[in-house]
Every structure is written in C-alpha cells, then in structure tokens.
C-alpha cells in the first residue's frame, strides 16, 4: 500500500510537472491537445522514474544482509513521508476543485493564493518529507534510497522544463 501510494503520487506529480513545463510557451488559443500531450509526457516520465526507483530498491534489497529488515525500514520511512505528501496533495486538490468550479473571482483567489504559492513550496515539501522520513534515524542504504528518490522527483521537474525550453515557440 505504502509503495503504491508513493508511486501514484510521484506519477501525478510528474503529470503536473509536465503541464508546468509546457505552460507559458505556446501562444495559441486552443491548446487542449498541447496540454494533454504535456501531461502525458509527464506521466510517461513519472512512470519511467518510478520503475527505475523500484529497480534500484529491488537491487538494494537483494544485496542487503537482511532484506526484510531493510524493507520494513523503508516502509516506515515511506509512511512518515506520506503524511507530508498527502497533506500537500489534499490542499492542492482542494484548490484545483475550487479553480475548476468556482466563479471567476474565486478561481483567481485559488490560483493566486494557493496554486501559485504551492508550486513554489513543492521543493520544500519534498525536503521536509525527506527529513521527516529519515528523522527517526536510518541505515545507510535506506538513507541513500530515500535521498535519491526525493532528489530524482525534484530533478524530473527540471528535466521536463529543460526539454520544453528547447522547443521553438511556434509549432
């Protein structure tokens, strides 16, 4: 359950990162297809990242002296991190629902006061979750896996942004 939740959150996060990377680079009026593609690219990148991290974790487990102890430790770290991520996700979803359904003025409040700042806070949220996850003390392999996972989630956003930045502005 915990690994599945973390994986789903990472993929959703990558989908948003895909959208953000594409936003503000295409001046057409009708861009549903453009944004859909950007979200799909994000999802694809997210799935690839999750698979890579899963493979890395598997390798670490195979190599560990006590795989079950390492796995239990990773689960505990993941559970602590999930608290932070789920709280963040809940607020973002609430703001998105408001943005999608409210009248114009409230919509703008949602985007200016929640969605905008929360985009800014995202790296901090990942860092806080990582610190909280590792807070109780952890073994070296668990620390390494956690830090690599968090860093790669943050790095993926940058990568997508770079990729879109390279394309010329019109078609």
């Amino acid at each position: 359950m915990i690994p599945a939740l973390l994986a789903v959150l990472a993929i959703i996060d990558a989908a948003f990162a895909g959208f953000r990377a594409a936003a503000g680079r295409d001046a057409r009026i009708f861009k549903r297809a453009y944004y859909q593609r950007a979200v799909l690219v994000g999802v694809g990148a997210g799935v690839a990242l999750v698979l890579a991290l899963a493979a890395l974790t598997l390798a670490a487990l195979v190599l560990a002296r006590s795989p079950s102890a390492l796995y239990a430790e990773l689960l505990a770290i993941g559970a602590r991190m999930l608290h932070v991520f789920l709280a963040y996700a809940l607020l973002v979803v609430a703001a998105l629902v408001l943005y999608a359904t409210a009248r114009r003025e409230l919509r703008i409040l949602a985007t200016v006061s929640i969605l905008g700042p929360f985009t800014l806070l995202r790296p901090l949220v990942v860092i806080v979750a990582t610190i909280r996850g590792l807070g109780g003390g952890a073994s070296l392999p668990a620390i390494a896996l956690t830090v690599v996972s968090s860093a790669s989630v943050l790095g993926l956003g940058r990568l997508l942004d770079r990729r879109y930045g390279r394309e010329p502005p019109l078609t």
Partner: protein, 306 residues
C-alpha cells in the same frame, strides 16, 4: 521616486514616433537609468545581455520580450482576461447597435502584445458580424507572431504595427489589458486625450488593481509562474506601478470631456483578494444611459459613470 521605477521592457526597446522605425538602444544609457532608480538587480540583468558596439542586440531583446509575453499570456489565460473584456464589451456593442451608431464596429486593442485578448475574442467572443477585431503594437515581431497565430487557428482578427491612435480606419472602441500603467503623468493624459479626440465611441482599459496586497500577491504569483527574469521583474513592478482608480478616473475626465467615465471594480475592499483587475471605462455621454441599462447587474460594479 521609487513609485516611478521604470520597467525593463520600457527601456530596452525604442521606436521613432513618426515612422515606428526601431531605434538602437545604447546599453549604457539603460544601465545608467536603472542605477539612477536604485535598480541594481535589473541593471545586472541587462548588463549580461549582448551589446555589440555598445548597442543592445535587437534580436536578443526581441527573443527575451517574446518569451516574457508568452509567459504573460499564460497569466492572461489564468486570469481570464478575454472573458473579462467580453463581459464589458458585449453590452457596449449592444449599446452601439441600439443607439444606431453606424457600424462596422472596430475594436482596437492598444498595445496588444501577442494579441491574446483579441484572438480570444475572435475565438470565443461571439461579438457579431458587424464587429472587427484589430490589435496594434509598435513591436513588429509581436505583430507578425500574432498574425501567424491567428491564421493558424483560423481566427477572424487583424494585427498591425501601428500607433493605435493613428489608424487610417479609426477605432470605434479602444481596449487594452495591462497597458495603461506604462503611461505616467503627462503621457497618461496624452494617451487618454488622443483616444478621446479620435472620434471613438468608447474605451475599456483593464489593468492590475492597486491594493495593499497586490505587490506581495503579485510577487508570489510571478515567482511561481515566470521563468524569464525580465517577466518576473516587470510583472512584479507593474503591480506596484498600477494607477489608482482615482488617478485613472481623474485623468480620463480631465482629458476626455465628451465621455462619461467610470472605474469597474475600482471600489476599495477590506481584504482585497477577489478583485485583482480594474477597468477604466469611458463612453460618449449620449451613450451613458443605454450602456448602464445594458450592463444590468454589472453596472453596480462600475461605481459612478460620470
């Protein structure tokens, strides 16, 4: 003095007023102006730009401005600037029809940039066959980009590199979004006076609403949304430079005596978080009653139209 800090985009590009020919911009003059206003961060930014023989590289400047305006369009989308314009424009066009002002009605967007609002209106406005949509800007690359975009999506609108107040076919309605704060003091009077004297029937100028929360809100929002440093810098500064409703109304009443003038969403709010834009609205006095009637409940947000 701090209030009149210039935006970088106003300094790094210049045109010959009569011919709109692009003028070379000496880099050191821009840096000196920025330093004079105590804007060292902005000066450091421009200092990094290429400047063969001391003149800012025009193609580089165009590329920066284009990226900034692409990001600005994203904000316009999020802020629904097209819908906003339509909400005041549709009743205005209805007023013209009812008062038998002869058409076709030429809606001219002053300083249209990439033409987002005009193209949005062409796509979604439903303004009627008697309405023409025209975007004007001094910046030629913007206009050719806007023209290509409109063609690509089959939108019925035109763009021209022109001074909006000197078109061969004059405007019926002047509009703008995020433009009037670029004009300060005498140039604001001149801007408003020119359109007042142009024979137009009305104007709708949208801009950021200056409130005590606008600067911080704008900073956070631009920080989150803008990648281009110039877009971040100028976007934040423009919230600080936005004219107050009183300044706008007073200037328009002074310079456009034939117009009834009001400010839409200009009312002061205790917690100013819902109304982030205001609009300077002017209609020829003889159209005032009919427009108020057509606005219906929106008239309540207009304050006084006098």
């Amino acid at each position: 003095m701090t209030l009149d800090r210039p935006e970088i985009s106003d300094l790094v590009i210049a045109f010959e007023p009569a011919t709109l020919e692009r003028l070379p911009v000496p880099r050191d003059e821009v840096l000196a102006t920025l330093e004079r206003h105590g804007m060292s961060a902005a000066a450091r930014l421009v200092a990094r730009w290429p400047h063969p023989e001391g003149v800012l590289d025009a193609r580089f400047v165009d590329a920066v401005l284009l990226r900034a305006h692409l990001e600005l369009q994203r904000l316009s989308e999020e802020f629904r600037q097209g819908e906003r314009m339509r909400s005041l424009l549709v009743p205005l066009l209805d007023t013209l029809r009812r008062e038998r002002v002869p058409g076709p009605y030429r809606v001219v967007d002053v300083g249209c940039g990439l033409g987002y609002v005009i193209r949005w209106l062409a796509a979604h406005g439903g303004l009627g066959d008697d309405t023409r949509l025209i975007g004007c800007d001094y910046n030629a690359p913007f206009i050719s980009f806007a023209t290509r975009l409109a063609a690509e999506e089959g939108l019925r609108c035109e763009f021209a590199v022109a001074n909006a107040f000197q078109l061969s076919e004059p405007a019926t309605i002047f509009t703008s979004t995020g433009v009037i704060h670029h004009f300060r003091r005498e140039s604001l009077d001149r801007f408003l006076g020119e359109q007042g004297a142009s024979g137009a029937s009305a104007f709708l100028h949208f801009d950021t609403k200056p409130t005590y929360l606008a600067p911080i809100g704008s900073w956070i929002f631009h920080r989150a949304r803008m990648r281009e440093p110039l877009a971040l810098h100028d976007g934040v500064l423009s919230a600080v430079r936005a004219h107050s409703p009183d300044t706008l109304a007073a200037a328009a009443r002074r310079t456009c005596p034939e117009f009834a003038v009001g400010v839409h969403d200009g009312a002061r709010e205790l917690v100013p978080v819902l109304k982030v834009m205001l609009a300077l609205v002017g209609v020829r006095r003889e159209l005032r009653g009919a427009y108020l009637e057509r606005l219906g409940p929106l008239a309540g947000r207009l304050g006084e139209l006098a």
